[in-house]
């Protein structure tokens, strides 16, 4: 085969492969992206009701309740402004604690309960998921504005500590 023809064939094959890959990717990206929402955003109906998303905040102190089967857990996720009740069945990660940051993945039901199918672990005692830190910060700021110049509120109560990437 002449080299000119060969090059044409390679270009065509390459483009076809590329088109196929792009198709696969767009399709996969469409259906597999998880957006992140804070409790305030969930209350403002910003979160989708028909697909799964990530909910992040702090585990409200005193909210963790366990059912008799020992595996189903109910708790509330808060950004210090709003809370969302969460139900999860399974074993919680080691560093799941009241008052600590948490990110849960799942769907919200029509009665406003977030059914989590995954509760994400952090790898380090001092680590706060950056999304959570930012959500808390935002809620804090909103509250401060609502309080209309009440006593100075410290924003950014939580600084995202350096994550130990070695722990992935």
């Amino acid at each position: 085969m002449k080299s000119r023809h060969k090059r044409m064939v390679f270009i065509v094959v390459g483009l076809a492969a590329l088109a196929g890959a792009v198709g696969l990717i767009m399709n996969a990206l469409q259906s597999n992206i998880n957006h992140f929402f804070s409790p305030t955003e969930v209350h403002a109906n910003a979160a989708p009701t028909d697909r799964s998303f990530r909910l992040g905040g702090l585990v409200e102190v005193g909210s963790v309740q366990r059912e008799d089967d020992g595996l189903t857990v109910h708790f509330r996720v808060t950004d210090n402004a709003e809370t969302v009740p969460v139900t999860y069945t399974g074993i919680l990660p080691d560093l799941f604690r009241e008052g600590e940051g948490v990110v849960a993945q799942g769907k919200i039901t029509s009665d406003g309960v977030f059914m989590a199918d995954e509760v994400l672990a952090k790898h380090d005692e001092t680590y706060m998921p950056p999304e959570v830190a930012e959500a808390l910060e935002k809620a804090e700021l909103a509250k401060a504005e609502a309080a209309n110049g009440a006593a100075a509120v410290e924003p950014a109560a939580v600084q995202p500590a350096a994550q130990s990437q070695e722990g992935k």
Binding site: F10, A28, L29, S31, G70, L71, L95, A121, P129, E134
Partner: protein, 672 residues
């Protein structure tokens, strides 16, 4: 005092690296023999200084010198000695120092194992490696000095993250870095070839064993990381498509494409431009991986704010390296001669397809990894791209690749005959098909995905056997078979073994979360598990709650498993230590959840069929690479070249030893 010596050694190493890069590169360009001669000693000097610096940091960890900031944040006097040493690379600064040490080590290896290469070429390679060293040493000294003092000294250290207190961490990062950094040698060879304009089969032959060695280390490093995540994180998964994992996987994909493309360049002289480009991309991916992992950009671009200097430095370094080498490529590539012609059905075409598939696969991983960062940077919302994306894109791309693995070794170079191939391979395909269709039934349930994966795996295994038999018949028995042929087949078989492991886990693993009171039984995967309670026990630097779980099969006791829940003293961090019974065809995996009412615990039990085949397959792939490095032809070629050189210069320098050849020594190093 010792930390200051380390700091000083690091500065000297930087000066040495500057000499190592500037003089040889200019010398090679202007043919100044005395400048060229600087390359080797400078590289060896740089290695010595980095080694001293690394030794000093290790000393600070061993002696619990908590006046060193880095040691105070990553170690503790209670930490067992082996973990104190591993803690040296347990954080950002130390792992960068390890990276610099590896880079200097590879350069050192090049300097002593390159006696057969033209001095000018070696000078360029070492010079380019020196430039990379300069970049990393500057990064260390300017933004991440591991020798910074803490005044006043801490009474005790903040301890190493308990997750990292594990034998896996002792070897995983060094192996991974050996691979990452090893691609810098392939990169340096490519840049040296572009600079000299000498881009030929000889260049591919020199560069090949180095690239394969780096690839072997990377394979082992990734497999170790996956294995560590499997048993240490307590999640029981082996791959999570986590951005940090992807960062190590992308260079592997490109590296795999590169070692195949190098084969074509060496054997047929084709794909020269493409091979050079791949070498550049492979190293760029290594750098990008470092950038992603080390800059804190991964979880959020806003993490830049925590230490902007680091992220910006690496990003700048990345831009200069990639931009510079691509510019050089653009200038030089058009003048490279084309290789041999080949037809549509030829081994060249199939290897090209292999390359295209691997590069596209890498592109999809890159997209999935960077897309969330991009959206966040543009303030378009926070998203995460989950494993389903990667699985649905990656798997369809890998299936044709697996088919090619079985096919390509039978296809002739230049031009092959389709009819002949079909006649040759039809029975192999039928055997693979029958096995793949029937085997899943023995596992109890038939899944088409498992069947398809098994088809590909069996296809690779059967064709490898067929190819081997044909070789033995055609040549004079086993003697006629080269090491590189063994290497190729072992590597490909490793891939098949890996695929079997993945398919079996995907189709047949069982997981059960249960609440167990003392005496409760539950069965998973044909085994019965009885919970016999927990006992408190103290470890060296933690308090453990040790579970007793009796495993039974067919009414007989098989073994006692001890999953643990540990609380580490310093960071008061709870850790789940899973109990795993490893077997050839299955793992039993038990981990404790948490205590629930009345002495009961929540317990997670997995039955994981063939999970060890995943890592076994990776080990086989690396072994295949080792065989390929040991091939005689590298030695013969270098011996011939040496003899030719000797004839030219009657005054042979006595320094170079007779038979200690480059590649054999590389192989020795790979074993170490």
């Amino acid at each position: 005092m010792i930390p200051e010596i380390g700091h000083y050694a690091l500065i000297l190493a930087l000066s040495m690296a500057i000499i190592q890069s500037v003089l040889p590169l200019i010398g090679a360009q202007q043919a100044k023999a005395s400048w060229i001669a600087v390359a080797r000693p400078a590289a060896q000097g740089q290695f010595a200084f980095v080694l001293v610096a690394f030794g000093c940091l290790t000393y600070a960890f061993i002696t619990n010198d908590f006046s060193v900031q880095y040691a105070a944040s990553h170690s503790n006097s209670q930490l067992p000695i082996e973990y104190r040493i591993a803690a040296v690379w347990g954080g950002h600064e130390g792992s960068l120092l390890l990276w610099a040490l590896m880079l200097a080590g590879w350069t050192f290896a090049v300097s002593i194992l390159s006696k057969n290469l033209p001095d000018e070429m070696v000078a360029r390679v070492i010079g380019v490696l020196g430039l990379v060293s300069v970049g990393f040493l500057l990064f260390l000294l300017l933004t991440s000095n591991p020798f910074d003092r803490l005044i006043p000294a801490a009474l005790d250290g903040r301890d190493l993250n308990p997750l990292l207190q594990d034998p896996g961490l002792i070897i995983h990062p060094p192996m991974l870095y050996m691979g990452y950094v090893g691609f810098s040698v392939a990169f340096a060879f490519a840049i040296a070839a572009l600079l000299s304009g000498r881009l030929d089969a000889a260049w591919a032959r020199w560069s090949r064993p180095w690239t394969t060695a780096a690839w072997c280390f990377l394979t082992i490093g990734i497999a170790l990381g996956s294995w560590w995540a499997y048993y240490e994180l307590g999640w029981g998964g082996w791959w999570f498509w986590d951005p940090v994992e992807n960062a190590s996987f992308m260079p592997w994909l490109i590296g795999t494409a590169l070692i195949h493309s190098l084969a074509v360049t060496e054997k047929r002289g084709s794909f020269k431009n493409w091979t050079v480009l791949l070498a550049i991309i492979a190293f760029s991916m290594s750098l990008l991986g470092t950038f992603l992992v080390r800059s804190g950009v991964l979880t959020s671009v806003h993490a830049f704010a925590t230490d902007p200097a680091r992220g910006v430095y690496i990003l700048g370094f990345l831009a200069v390296t990639i931009g510079g080498s691509l510019f050089l490529y653009a200038v030089r590539a058009p003048s490279v001669s084309k290789g041999g012609e080949f037809s549509m059905l030829s081994r060249e075409t199939l290897l090209l397809s292999n390359n295209v598939l691997l590069v596209v696969a890498c592109g999809t991983v890159l997209l999935g990894t960077l897309y969330p960062l991009l959206l966040d940077a543009l303030d378009m919302g926070k998203i995460s791209v989950g494993p389903p994306y990667f699985n649905s894109v990656f798997v369809p791309l890998m299936m044709p690749l697996l088919f090619l693995i079985g096919l390509a070794p039978f296809v002739r170079w230049k031009k092959a005959n389709l009819g002949e191939l079909a006649r040759l391979l039809r029975w192999a395909f039928c055997v693979a098909l029958v096995v793949a269709l029937l085997l899943p039934f023995t596992m109890g349930e038939w899944h088409w995905m498992v069947s398809l994966s098994l088809l590909m795996a069996m296809w690779i295994i059967v064709t490898a056997m067929l190819g081997f038999i044909r070789r033995v018949k055609r040549g004079n028995g086993l003697k006629g078979i080269s090491m590189s042929y063994y290497g190729m087949q072992i590597g490909h078989l490793g891939m098949a073994v890996f695929v079997i492991g993945v398919a079996m886990i995907g189709g047949y693993q069982t997981e059960k979360d249960v609440r167990m009171e003392i005496g409760d039984v539950t069965s998973v995967g044909g085994y019965t598990f009885r919970f016999d309670g927990v006992v408190d026990q103290a470890g060296p630097n933690y308090q453990a709650t040790r579970g007793y779980i009796q495993v039974m099969k067919d009414g007989e006791n098989v073994m006692l498993m001890h999953p643990e829940k540990r609380i580490y003293n310093v960071q008061t961090m709870p850790m789940t230590e899973a109990a795993i019974d490893s077997g050839f065809t299955r793992d039993l995996y038990v981990s404790l959840g948490e205590p629930v009412s009345g002495g009961a615990w929540s317990v997670r039990i997995y039955h994981k069929p063939f999970v060890n085949w995943i890592w076994g397959g990776c080990a086989l792939m690396a072994l295949g690479g080792l065989f390929a490095i040991c091939d005689r032809r590298y030695r013969i070629a270098s011996r011939q070249r040496k003899e030719a050189e000797k004839r030219k210069m009657a005054t042979a320098n006595k320094g170079s030893s007779g038979d200690a050849t480059g590649t054999a020594a590389v192989a020795r190093e790979a074993k170490v």
